[in-house]
């Protein structure tokens, strides 16, 4: 190494002043691109448009108008045209149009009507069976029967053979031993074959399929599945109804103009009418009552083609036709289907809906008749279960009746139900179908009725549940509220079966939380605990208990209040299954993070939440997914950040210490704690304005110690490195010099352990970029770290350089040399008389050594070594395939010398020229960059004391590329 490096002396203050951008006083004028556009012009245009919405809104919001809405305000040509055309077309027909609209409103069901499709899934999910089902399809003529019976083939073979001539003319098909899923698949197949038959123009076959399907509805074996069966089969009927209607509608197309939506029968041509009549005649001759009813109901809409009054005549007839259905369950579902079709086709015809319900009431006594009872005995079905099978149908009928019905009608319905001895089944349906407001307003009446009502097998707790559901949606009169709760809870608390109890209580908790204080909520929770604890009944009721917690925290999100509810924590103890408990804890923490506005030190909250967080933390094990861990850590961190003891820093630290011991398995939490403690130390420093007293100095050292012993327990190496560096900086700032040294030493000794590849977001990535970034950061810090009196000069820098030297770098990487180049930046900064930055109240080396020549000599020695390392490396890059890298590195080194070196020194000057040439030698240099560099040098040369740059520029040739 023949070379002595000269650092350029710098005057940082003047330099920074020189480099600063010219400061321009900011003009806080009117204009700002993000400010809302204010339009102040007054509107002079008067539009003759009917739509009143646009004109009113624009006039009222002139201050905050956005340009888009002003465009929509009628100034665009289309709306202008529309505005001009409007009066002409609408004026004469306004009256008619309004009448029409009124009519439309009454004839169409609004979106506030809960459609059948939303009930469908619920019914299918609720009414299931494990028993075996059967489908018996018999298509057409008698011949089929003869072929299938009598032969000695086994059952299995028979069904298989039958499947072959699946639904052929005259085939009979009996499918036995179907599971529920098989059954549903079969029905779906039938639905498909209906569509296929239709599209292949086999209308008769399609009709046969539909008839056979609706026949299945007269079969009540496996009665608990009946509601689901109804859903499945009426789907097919709906398909059929639609197919027939669309087919006839398509026949009405006259000169390619389809009929308008509300056509009159006169505009339907004869062929279409004849086809339609044919369908009705065909259906009228169906032998059996139930298929005849269902198929006719399915194509009820087609009456529109024949006469205006068709539907209004048909509905009452079909309604009374149902009287012929002996089985009350089958009948009530038939009624539900008729109401469903009726609501769809002619919702204005409310009479039939009511009639259906009244007819149902008339036949109600049948439920307790011998025929039904015998059937239940045969099927081993209990009365309470049997009665719940009615609910979907009655609910639906009542929902149709109650839709937009006046209160008078609802009151009348209630009276009618009462006359039937306040039957529980009916009462329940009334409550689930009528408007919540209606029910809520009469809550006391309902409670009285529920109490009086004849249970007749229908469980009373379901009634209270239904009432509770209504009260969760609508508020009862203010004065009744407490009494309602008392009355209801009196009954609920007496329920013996824990499942019944919890289903009821779950609903009523919401009502309680909504209208009452923590005292009542506490009582309710206490009651739930009392009921669910014996025999560990809570084990079967986790979903309900969870929903109770959800409701409580939705309404009580003031956590001080929440935890003052005494029974809240005991309630949580019921969640003994870990997965559920963690879920609940997560809910609570989410709510806390969402709602807690200010940091807290309330011991009750802290204790409770620490407990909850501990529960979450303790659920972490080797099998926990990363996402889950991250989620839990985020929640716990959210909590830690919200804890503040104000000026009581010691308390704060001891909280962090406690938290560390609690959450040691979640690294992100430990990281957060280290940051929090560092922050605490800095906060202390801020409070003491940098002058620590003996007490605060000790405290700060405690904080530093906390970090020092916590960091090694982390697994991610870069997290550790960065935290060491960060904590070292904090220690330095708090004048804990030896502690800072310890941090930096730890960091230095950790660097050799950095692996070549690290996992980032689950992917393996090379670590060099991270390491480079960290080391640069580290060196920057080391500038201000004063040397330890007992260790040699620049002990830490040397240590780090040694580590870098020994680190096993990637074979074909220049990272080491890049770092060396950066070290030169540091070393040049160290030679300055005053360092570029300092830590307040810490004497850095500039003050310590005061520009001592021995110190400078040390630095020079170091830089000499470094430079020689760089040059050696550049030499090794002389091979063909590494020339590009050589060029880049040479240029990089050149820039460093240009920025930090004193180029008045001849040898340095010569070195830079050599580097410049080296960079260009093999044509790998980027010409643009080189040109710019040269321009920069020329510009610099004009500055004072930089005249030697002029000569330098002359010595740097630009190589044009060949």
């Amino acid at each position: 190494s023949y070379f002595l490096r000269h650092a350029r002396a710098r005057n940082y203050v003047s330099e920074s002043e020189m480099c600063k951008l010219e400061s321009i006083p900011l003009d806080f004028g009117d204009y700002h691109p993000l400010k809302p556009i204010t339009v102040t012009e007054s509107k002079t245009k008067k539009m003759t448009r009917k739509g009143s919405t646009s004109s009113t809104s624009s006039s009222s919001s002139s201050s905050m108008m956005d340009p888009l809405s002003s465009v929509l305000d009628g100034t665009d040509p289309l709306s202008l045209f529309a505005a001009a055309a409007d009066p002409v077309t609408t004026a004469p027909s306004t009256d008619g149009a309004r009448r029409k609209r009124d009519k439309d409103e009454s004839s169409a069901v609004g979106s506030d009507f809960e459609p059948w499709s939303s009930k469908r899934g619920e019914i299918l999910a609720r009414y299931t069976t494990t028993e075996k089902l059967s489908i018996n399809l018999y298509m057409g003529s008698e011949k089929g029967k003869a072929t299938t019976t009598g032969s000695a083939v086994s059952e299995k073979v028979r069904t298989r053979l039958e499947e072959l001539d699946d639904l052929e003319e005259g085939s009979q098909k009996e499918l036995l031993n179907l599971t529920q899923q098989d059954y549903m698949n079969r029905i779906e197949e039938l639905n498909q074959s209906l569509k296929d038959a239709w599209s292949s123009d086999q209308k008769v076959k399609a009709l046969k399929i539909v008839i056979q399907c609706s026949k299945l509805l007269s079969d009540t074996t496996v009665i608990q599945f009946y509601p689901s069966k109804f859903v499945l089969i009426t789907d097919i009927l709906d398909t059929f109804g639609k197919l027939v209607y669309e087919r006839i509608l398509s026949m009405c197309v006259d000169n390619r103009v389809p009929l308008p939506d509300n056509f009159s029968p006169e505009s339907v041509n004869d062929t279409a009418k004849e086809t339609c009549l044919n369908w009705f005649f065909k259906i009228a001759s169906i032998r059996e009552l139930i298929p005849r009813f269902y198929v006719e109901a399915a194509i009820l809409k087609c009456n529109k083609f024949l006469s205006k009054t068709g539907i209004s005549e048909c509905l009452p007839r079909l309604t009374s036709m149902i009287r012929g259905i002996g089985d009350p369950l089958v009948a009530v579902y038939a009624r539900a289907y008729l109401c469903r079709v009726g609501m769809e086709v002619a919702p204005q015809l409310k009479e039939s809906l009511n009639k259906n319900f009244f007819d149902f009431l008339l036949t109600f006594k049948q439920i307790h008749g011998d025929t039904v009872q015998n059937q239940l005995v045969v099927q081993c079905v209990e009365i309470p279960l049997y009665l719940t099978l009615y609910s979907p149908a009655i609910d639906w009928i009542l929902q149709c009746i109650a839709y937009h019905a006046p209160d008078v009608l609802l009151t009348e319905m209630m009276e009618r139900c009462k006359k039937l001895g306040n039957n529980a089944l009916l009462l329940n349906s009334v409550m689930s179908a009528f408007r919540a407001e209606f029910i809520a307003a009469r809550s006391m009446d309902f409670i009285a009725m529920i109490k009086e009502c004849d249970e007749s097998g229908f469980p009373k707790h379901l009634l209270f549940r239904s009432l509770g559901l209504n009260l969760a949606l609508a508020d009862p009169p203010e004065n009744d509220r407490l009494q309602i709760l008392n009355e209801a809870w009196k009954v609920i608390t007496k329920l013996k079966n824990p499942q019944d109890y919890i289903n009821c209580a779950e609903v009523w908790v919401e009502y309680t939380c909504r209208h009452f204080t923590k005292r009542e909520v506490n009582t309710v929770l206490a009651d739930v605990i009392k009921h669910m604890t014996p025999d560990r009944a809570f084990e079967d009721a986790y979903p309900q208990l969870q929903s109770i917690i959800q409701k409580v925290i939705t309404y009580i999100y003031d956590f001080a209040l929440l935890f003052s509810v005494e029974k809240f924590l005991p309630f949580l103890d019921m969640f003994q299954k870990e997965s559920v408990r963690v879920e609940v804890c997560k809910c609570i923490m989410e709510s806390f993070i969402k709602h807690q506005q200010e940091s807290t030190k309330d011991p009750v909250i802290l204790n409770a939440l620490l407990h909850i967080c501990k529960t979450m933390h303790d659920s972490v094990n080797a099998l926990t997914l990363e996402d889950e861990k991250r989620m839990l850590a985020t929640l716990i961190n959210g909590f830690i950040k919200m804890v503040s003891f104000g000026r009581d820093f010691e308390q704060q630290l001891s909280f962090y210490v406690e938290a560390r011991s609690m959450f040691c398995n979640l690294e992100p939490v430990l990281v957060q704690l280290i940051h929090s403690v560092n922050q605490l130390a800095m906060e202390t420093r801020r409070v003491m304005k940098g002058n620590h007293s003996r007490k605060t100095a000790a405290f700060v050292r405690a904080c530093v110690a906390f970090c020092f012993i916590t960091i090694p327990s982390l697994s991610s190496i870069f997290t550790r490195l960065n935290l060491y560096l960060h904590s070292g900086q904090v220690a330095l700032a708090n004048q804990c010099l030896s502690q800072a040294d310890a941090f930096f030493k730890a960091a230095v000794s950790l660097v050799p352990e950095v692996p070549k590849m690290i996992s980032v977001d689950g992917k393996m990535r090379p670590s060099d970029a991270f390491l480079l970034e960290f080391l640069c950061n580290f060196f920057s810090t080391l500038l201000v770290v004063p040397d330890h009196p007992e260790q040699g000069v620049l002990f830490l820098v040397r240590g780090l350089l040694n580590v870098i030297q020994d680190y096993t770098w990637e074979d074909n990487s220049d990272d080491k040399v890049r770092i060396y180049t950066n070290v030169l930046h540091l070393l040049s900064a160290m030679t300055q008389e005053t360092f570029i930055y300092h830590v307040d109240k810490v004497d850095s080396n500039d003050t310590l050594y005061g520009g001592d020549s021995k110190f400078l000599a040390e630095i020079n020695k170091l830089s000499e070594t470094v430079v020689s390392q760089i040059l050696d490396h550049l030499k090794t890059l002389g091979k063909e395939e590494t020339l590009k890298r050589q060029s880049q590195l040479a240029h990089y080194f050149f820039n460093t010398i240009l920025a930090h070196g004193d180029l008045r020194n001849n040898r340095l000057n010569q070195l830079s020229v050599n580097l410049w040439n080296l960079a260009q030698k093999h044509g790998f240099a980027d010409t643009k960059t080189m040109v710019k560099t040269l321009e920069y040098i020329k510009r610099r040369s004009k500055q004072p004391e930089m005249s030697h740059f002029t000569d330098l520029a002359l010595r740097l040739p630009l190589q044009s590329r060949t």
Binding site: T271, E274, S285, L289, R317, R323, G324, I325, D327, L362
Partner: protein
């Protein structure tokens, strides 16, 4: 394969009445020109009587009655022998549907022993080499509305074990009381048969209640006659053990073609009856019969 012949009447329902004009088109489609010896259209109406197997032996003597009775028969020459151009040719026609003298145009009826049917037949005669083409098309005749007002004839009925005839062991019958009424046994054929039925009481569970529509066809002449009652259709109005005391509607649509206004001629008679059939769970079958008189208004 080349040439097809089709007869289409104008009305979608193909329904015509006495005095009306039956109009339509004959459609001939062919790829090539068609050489023919004339196209004619024939309108035929006839009553076919058939003797039932059990009666055939007894009444072999009057086999002449089994021959079809012609009601109407007329032919028109549509096109003189010549050529038709290739493609689709439509030849419109009109037939006055008029009876001569006092003859009556019976209504179309498809029964078992009596069939009244009206056809349009189009014949295209061709040279010896090519086969003659024929196409027939049924059209339906409805008789004219009967004059005068139809007097409703309501019938009330009560069925108990005591009212039944043909009972072997009256004692073994379960007790029951079924009441009801038919709004009228004089029915307009286009209107359904209506009424109500109430099961006031029944010891045994009801399995099913059905309406059985029966045709009674009589063929005969001076020598004797054959009378056969057969079922047209069976319509269930109650399925299962219906609610006691609740009126169940009786409602039955008369099927087209298989019913016609009650008809009485010298050679044959077509009459209708309805049976109310109550089937009890112990397989007791109770039937109550009501003769109907159908007419067209």
């Amino acid at each position: 394969m080349g040439t097809t012949l089709d007869v289409r009447v104008k009305r979608a329902g193909k329904v015509y009445r006495d005095g009306e004009i039956l109009s339509g088109v004959v459609v001939i489609t062919s790829k090539d020109t068609v050489q023919h010896q004339g196209i004619s259209l024939t309108m035929e109406g006839s009553v076919n009587l058939q003797l039932s197997a059990k009666n055939v032996g007894v009444f072999e003597a009057f086999c002449n009655t089994a021959k079809p009775i012609q009601i109407i028969n007329s032919t028109i020459e549509m096109v003189k022998p010549g050529k038709l151009p290739s493609g689709k040719t439509e030849i419109p026609f009109e037939f006055p549907l008029q009876m001569k003298g006092n003859k009556v145009l019976y209504e179309t009826y498809h029964g078992v022993f009596v069939n009244i049917q009206y056809m349009l037949r189009c014949d295209m005669r061709r040279s010896l080499l090519a086969k003659d083409l024929t196409k027939t098309c049924e059209f339906i005749v409805h008789s004219l509305s009967q004059k005068g007002k139809l007097l409703p004839s309501p019938v009330d009925f009560t069925i108990t074990p005591e009212t039944l005839q043909n009972v072997k062991e009256r004692a073994s019958l379960p007790k029951f009381l079924i009441r009801g009424h038919l709004n009228s046994t004089n029915c307009v054929i286009t209107q359904p048969l209506t009424g109500e039925l109430v099961v006031e009481s029944a010891e045994a569970a009801v399995k099913s209640i059905e309406l059985q529509l029966v045709r009674v066809e009589t063929c005969g002449c001076a020598e004797g006659y054959a009378r056969d009652a057969t079922e047209i259709q069976n319509i269930q109005i109650a399925d299962g053990d219906v609610c006691r005391g609740l009126p169940i509607p009786i409602h039955m649509v008369f099927p087209r073609l298989f019913t016609c206004p009650t008809l009485e001629t010298t050679n044959f008679k077509v009459e209708f009856e309805v049976n109310i059939v109550v089937l009890l769970h112990d397989d007791h079958l109770i039937t109550e019969n009501f003769p109907l008189k159908l007419c067209r208004m």
